[in-house]
């Protein structure tokens, strides 16, 4: 609504601001946490330095399985980043109010995971120092070009969707944080762009945000569809699927929703925000997770049952490896504990309470990571022509410690970005929470 006037309840605002701003700031516990993460990250970077110097021979990848855990991890990161679009874009545009306290958390996850996804893909390159070639000699026919374009666009839109609604909050926070260090206040001043809570400013903010959440929907569809096409454009069995785009997209909603639930649970307890990140909110998030799980299950059914029915020669080898072969344990664990059981138990309200939901989300997220592994690696192990006259370790893929370390490093980096943003700025949108309820219903639509 362009003629919208914001009405903020002053008393409510005071209370919310006090609660939300209390955990903001770099305290000792946070600094210790960051020191720990930094040390772990340095070890992982060292592993990457070894890889850079010796070449990708230090990984488990060889000519047969030439894409391994890095690509699986990349797909996982892009998938998780998609939740920003699901929450702010789809659910927000539908006018649901309950997402208000978690929009910022979702955007933080989107920004962190999209940013790290770019680094993950660079760690997979044989010649990372030639990254600029992609821009110098880029060929528009290559899905990699499409991926670079849309991931960058998504990162920019997500960052804007994070920063824009932060403007009024930083203006509110500036006057309420007397003990904050000078640089932090300076940063707040800088990023609040002289915000005076004038109705005209709100009007501008609303139209800008509205435009962005409309734009982010096709962009998010594009990033994960294109990511799925990195695999689906190849004719190998297991990737040669026409539903890979929606299959990946719905899988991404599941992964991202699980990540948001884990983050919200953490902030609820550690930031003492139980009043805002409350049980009804968890119930809603649980229902949303259930919903996306059901859709994802439907696509899984199509993706595996149809080729399993026909059993065309190469599909049969692939399906056999997944159902009863070398990858069967991982396949069934990720499908049953990461999708099937969560989908069933979430139907009952007690499982949508904070702690059970948090545990379910953990299973879903870990299962989702292994699911990406299942999507990438088994297909590569079974090319059309036989693999012969090669040493055994060149045929079967086994990730190495270095690969593991670099992958863990990417996860640590993601957690670090989330940690810093969550301590630097308020984690819940103060002004949106303090708005009069009737008014906000028509805010965006």
């Amino acid at each position: 609504m362009s003629d919208h006037n914001i009405k903020i309840d002053k008393k409510k605002l005071d209370k919310i601001a006090t609660d939300v701003l209390k955990p903001v700031g770099f305290n000792n516990a946070f600094i210790n946490w960051m020191l720990f993460l930094t040390m772990a990250l340095v070890a992982c970077i060292y592993a990457y330095v070894i890889q850079y110097n010796k070449g990708l021979i230090v990984t488990g990848m060889r000519d047969t399985v030439s894409w391994g855990m890095y690509i699986a991890n990349f797909v996982f990161f892009v998938a998780t980043a998609l939740v920003g679009m699901l929450i702010s874009g789809v659910i927000g545009l539908l006018g649901y109010q309950w997402i208000k306290p978690i929009t910022r958390i979702a955007e933080i996850i989107a920004v962190a995971f999209a940013a790290v996804a770019g680094l993950v893909i660079v760690s997979d390159m044989g010649r990372p120092e030639r990254l600029l070639n992609v821009f110098l000699y880029g060929r528009v026919q290559s899905p990699i070009l499409w991926d670079v374009t849309v991931v960058t666009t998504y990162l920019v839109i997500s960052l804007l969707l994070y920063l824009l609604p932060l403007i009024p909050d930083l203006a509110i926070a500036r006057g309420r944080m007397p003990h904050a260090p000078k640089w932090q206040l300076k940063l707040y001043e800088l990023l609040s762009f002289n915000w005076t809570h004038h109705p005209k400013q709100y009007k501008l903010l609303f139209s800008a945000t509205r435009l962005l959440i409309i734009l982010i929907i096709p962009t998010a569809f594009a990033i994960h569809t294109v990511t799925s096409w990195l695999l689906a454009v190849n004719s190998r069995s297991g990737w040669d699927s026409t539903i890979f785009g929606p299959y990946f997209l719905t899988g991404a909603f599941v992964t991202g929703m699980a990540a948001v639930i884990i983050a919200v649970f953490f902030f609820r307890n550690n930031y003492k925000l139980r009043e805002y990140l409350n049980e009804p909110l968890f119930d809603k998030m649980g229902k949303l997770l259930e919903f996306v799980c059901v859709i994802y299950f439907y696509f899984n059914l199509n993706e595996f049952v149809v080729p399993a029915y026909k059993m065309k020669e190469f599909d049969a080898i692939h399906i056999h490896e997944l159902f009863a072969g070398r990858h069967a344990v991982m396949f069934w664990l990720s499908q049953i504990f990461g999708l099937l059981i969560p989908m069933i138990v979430l139907l009952w309200k007690p499982f949508r309470k904070p702690l059970p939901l948090f545990l379910i989300a953990l299973f879903v997220l870990v299962g989702a990571w292994f699911k990406r592994y299942i999507i990438v690696i088994p297909t590569m192990e079974h090319p059309f022509l036989p693999i012969q006259f090669l040493p055994g370790e060149w045929v079967i893929y086994q990730p190495t410690v270095i690969e593991g370390a670099v992958t863990i490093g990417s996860i640590i980096l993601g957690i670090m970005i989330i940690s810093v943003l969550a301590k630097l700025f308020p984690i819940i949108p103060i002004w949106e929470m303090a708005e009069e309820d009737e008014e906000t219903k028509t805010k965006i639509i």
């Binding site: 010796k54 070449g55 990708l56 021979i57 990848m61 060889r62 000519d63 047969t64 030439s66 894409w67 997979d124 390159m125 044989g126 010649r127 990372p128 030639r130 990254l131 070639n133 992609v134 110098l136 000699y137 880029g138 060929r139 026919q141 290559s142 899905p143 990699i144 070009l145 670079v148 990195l230 695999l231 454009v233 190849n234 004719s235 190998r236 080898i317 590569m380 192990e381 079974h382 090319p383 059309f384 022509l385 036989p386 693999i387 012969q388 006259f389 090669l390 040493p391 060149w394 045929v395």
Partner: protein
């Protein structure tokens, strides 16, 4: 007037110019190919008293050009790159592999690995033991790059490091390659290999640095993809590819589709390509994928060798 060989090749391939122009340009390419020189600032008006020299062109034609117009230059990477990306004008290279004759001597592999400085586990060409169905007998199948006319690897390359030349060859430029390995995922024939570690002849490169020749993909480079090149450097020199020449059993035929003739690498007998394929029911691998390979196989009928041992599994 074009001053470098690349432009000349492009011009002559267009076929717009008169025959005299065409011959003159062939001369220029010949100068580049046979003496390692390219001509710059060529003036069409030639003095009748001037001394002429004979130059052999890339397609073995003897032509004359004025001596004063010839300028020798070093064949540096740039020249190697520009001519390597264009390819040999008027050619459409094609390979025919007679499966009835292959005994898996693996001489083609040895010659290839030597030529392209490969690790023992890196195959530009590999010979596989194939069995089409449980009833049919196993046979040996040499597998080079198919040099597809619709190459999936070239489509997916993000930086134009791998490319299709006018003479049908698919090459890889390891000075451009970023090592993303998308081409390896895209190739249905698994013919591409990666330099996972430092190259096999690293020491040689350090002792005597050499210019990078995209037509041989030598020197090899860590972190880049390499593949069968139909020995494009040999073809430029008028020779058959290394694997074709190395075979002791007469398995390989190689030649120009435009001439409709292929030469056997062992017997040096030249035969009519279309007849060879028609009479022997020549086929291409995985026709259904639409990749349009430039490598034809003759079925393993009336074999001259003993049946190889059955492969343990069709796919591993």
């Amino acid at each position: 007037m074009g001053s470098d060989s690349r432009k000349n090749e492009l011009d002559s391939s267009k076929g717009k110019n008169s025959r005299r122009d065409f011959m003159r340009k062939l001369g220029l390419i010949g100068a580049a190919a046979s003496t390692g020189a390219v001509v710059s600032g060529f003036t069409p008006i030639a003095d009748t008293n001037e001394e002429y020299i004979k130059v052999l062109t890339a397609d073995n034609k003897l032509v004359e050009i004025p001596k004063s117009q010839v300028k020798k230059v070093k064949l540096d990477t740039e020249v190697l790159q520009s001519r390597g990306r264009v390819g040999l004008a008027g050619k459409r290279w094609v390979m025919v592999i007679d499966l009835a004759k292959c005994r898996n001597a693996r001489e083609c592999i040895k010659g290839c690995q030597e030529h392209h400085h490969l690790h023992p586990y890196q195959y530009h060409i590999n010979t596989l033991v194939m069995q089409d169905n449980p009833q049919s007998a196993p046979y040996n199948m040499p597998k080079p790059c198919m040099h597809c006319d619709n190459p999936p690897c070239v489509s997916v390359c993000p930086v134009d490091a791998t490319f299709k030349r006018q003479d049908g060859i698919v090459l890889i430029d390891n000075e451009r390659c970023i090592g993303c390995r998308f081409c390896m995922a895209a190739c249905p024939y698994s013919v591409r290999v990666f330099n996972w570690e430092k190259p096999f002849r690293e020491q040689l490169y350090q002792e005597e640095p050499m210019e990078y020749d995209v037509e041989a993909n030598v020197p090899q480079r860590k972190g880049t993809v390499t593949k069968c090149l139909f020995s494009a450097d040999c073809l430029r020199g008028g020779e058959l590819p290394t694997c074709v020449r190395s075979c002791p059993n007469g398995v390989f035929y190689f030649g120009d589709q435009n001439e409709n003739a292929v030469t056997n690498g062992t017997t040096r007998q030249t035969v009519v390509l279309s007849e060879l394929l028609e009479k022997n029911a020549g086929y291409r691998l995985m026709e259904e994928l639409g990749t349009k390979p430039r490598v034809y196989y003759l079925p393993p009928k009336d074999r001259v060798f003993d049946t190889p041992e059955k492969p343990d599994s069709h796919h591993s």
